[in-house]
Amino acid sequence: MKKIEAIIRPERLDAVKDALSAQGMLGMTVTHVSGRGRQKGIALQWRAGEYRVDFLPKVKIEIVIADEECQIALDIICRAARTGREGDGMIFVLPVENALRVRTSDNGELCITNK
């Protein structure tokens, strides 16, 4: 099993969610996060003049997925989240030791697939 942590533009969240759903990939956890990368910050309006904000709002999607489906999911997320401008985000993939469904105590890959 793998965990995908995708940090993307908030406005691309719906597109990513829909594209994953179309492949039967339903489960995800979403968090509002702040961060920075090559895009650095942006300038916002103060009462008169402006000020810089160094951390920008992003959305972090976390998905735990079977090894053989991981690459498919990564391709889908990249395609759906991309605008081609700086600030599109980053994706990290981590190994996962185990998973449990709280309701049934099922564990392993059984509880992360919808099949």
Binding site: G41, L44, Q45, W46, R47, A48, G49, E50, Y51, R52, V53, D54
Partner: protein
């Protein structure tokens, strides 16, 4: 006694009282989230403190029997002899107690105004001490000069309908002195972003200030008639002209900012304050629009070049807005509106000089005495919180609370 006048004055008193919690939200929205409660608390605690000091000795110092044109004596201490009958000197058609209550709300908000200069770093105890001292040694005497019977600026013929000098120049200049003694917030010189935590609060605060200001200005007629109506419509017009002007200035430089439009409306209200019951309605447009432009560019200069962390620009908004308003009163006042005052458009150019004298006297006194009081407090009890307390934020370090708590 006139029941209509009394009803309007009591209603106005409640309107003006609302302006201090409104100011709490106006300022509270502009600070970082770790200092939201502390900023709100400054105005709220001052509301409690000054309400009490006012009836004990503030009213008699401001409006009591005159001592050499400088201050009222203490013969009305604790409102001794001030009762339900009218005061022949100040407001002959309403109970004097209604006038006492109306004026209390002015003292309260004036003290709360300069707190915008010291947010996010002052010790709460020092804030309360400075508030009491400032009220005693600056607000009460200056209110006496301009509004008290026998006050020297009143004798000189200075026109100040609802407090351009007493309230706005006074608080705005004092804010500058206090910010200079207190020093900038940590990270200010390094250009750290001080992001406002809640701009909707600022707009809510500005809207409630605008609403309360009808009591402030139209209530200052002290009667429910033509002059109150003139003050009411000039107040609304100036706020609108200034809010719109500020929005356009922001747009020219970048975007039409919401924070800017809300700020502009408040500056327009400041500028029309001394003029509201003296000037024709059309004059409220230039008074608001020019006031907004002056305040806008002073704010740009303060933030970019001055190096002074007068954090929420009380000087630019109230000091400059009040100065322009007091000057504009000398220009646009006409006996066609109010027989009590005529200005340059009536051919009375001397009024402009009298207005300048009132502005300079108020500003000089407020700056020097505020600076001395702040220095004295700094040397004794200290003004600033510790560095780690400032880093954590004043909500936790001064009040043991946080604005947005909990996970669920």
């Amino acid at each position: 006694m006139n029941s209509g006048d009394t009803a309007w004055l009591l209603t106005s008193t409640a309107l003006v009282l609302l302006m201090t919690p409104a100011l709490a939200f106006f300022y509270g929205g502009m600070v970082r989230r770790k200092n939201l409660l502390s900023t709100i608390m400054m105005s709220f605690a001052i509301l409690c403190l000054i309400s009490i000091l006012w009836i004990l000795y503030g009213y008699t110092m401001a409006f009591g029997p005159d001592v050499k044109g400088l201050v009222g004596d203490l013969s009305w201490f604790g409102l001794t002899g001030v009762g339900q009958g009218p005061s022949p000197i100040y407001a002959s058609t309403v109970p004097q107690l209604a006038f006492v209550a109306f004026q209390a709300t002015f003292a309260i908000i004036t003290v709360a105004l300069w707190t915008g200069a010291v947010v996010e770093r002052i010790k709460f105890g020092a804030l309360l001490a400075f508030a009491a001292l400032w009220f005693t040694f600056i607000y009460c005497p200056v209110a006496h000069w301009v509004w008290g019977s026998g006050g020297w600026l009143a004798q000189l013929g200075a026109l100040d309908f609802a407090g351009g000098t007493v309230v706005h120049v006074n608080a705005g200049i004092s804010a500058l002195a206090l910010a200079l003694v207190l020093g900038p917030r940590m990270g200010f010189k390094e250009g750290e972003s001080m992001e406002p935590n809640n701009i909707p609060y600022v707009v809510l605060g500005a809207a409630l200030l605008w609403f309360g200001w009808f009591g402030f200005n139209a209530g200052s007629a002290l009667t429910a008639g033509g002059i109150a109506s003139n003050a009411f419509i000039t107040t609304n017009t100036a706020a609108a002209a200034a809010g719109f002007t500020w929005m356009i200035l922001g747009w020219i430089h970048r975007r039409p900012s919401v924070l800017g439009a809300a700020t502009g409306a408040v500056v327009g209200l400041v500028a029309i304050t001394p003029a509201a019951g003296f000037v024709p309605v059309w004059a409220a447009i230039p008074i608001g629009a020019i006031g907004a432009a002056i305040s806008y560019y002073v704010m740009v200069w303060r933030a970019r070049s001055s190096g002074v962390d007068e954090s929420l620009d009380v000087f630019a908004c109230h000091g400059m807005g009040g100065t322009w308003g007091a000057l504009a009163t000398g220009i646009f006042a006409t006996t066609a509106v109010n027989t009590a005052g005529s200005g340059l458009i009536d051919g009375n150019w001397k009024q402009v000089l009298i207005q300048i004298a009132a502005i300079v006297a108020t500003a000089a006194y407020a700056f020097v005495v505020s600076w001395l009081l702040a220095k004295a407090l700094k040397a004794t009890m200290g003004l600033r919180v510790k560095e780690e307390e400032e880093a954590v934020g004043l909500d936790i370090s001064q009040h043991g609370e946080r604005a947005y708590g909990g996970v669920s």
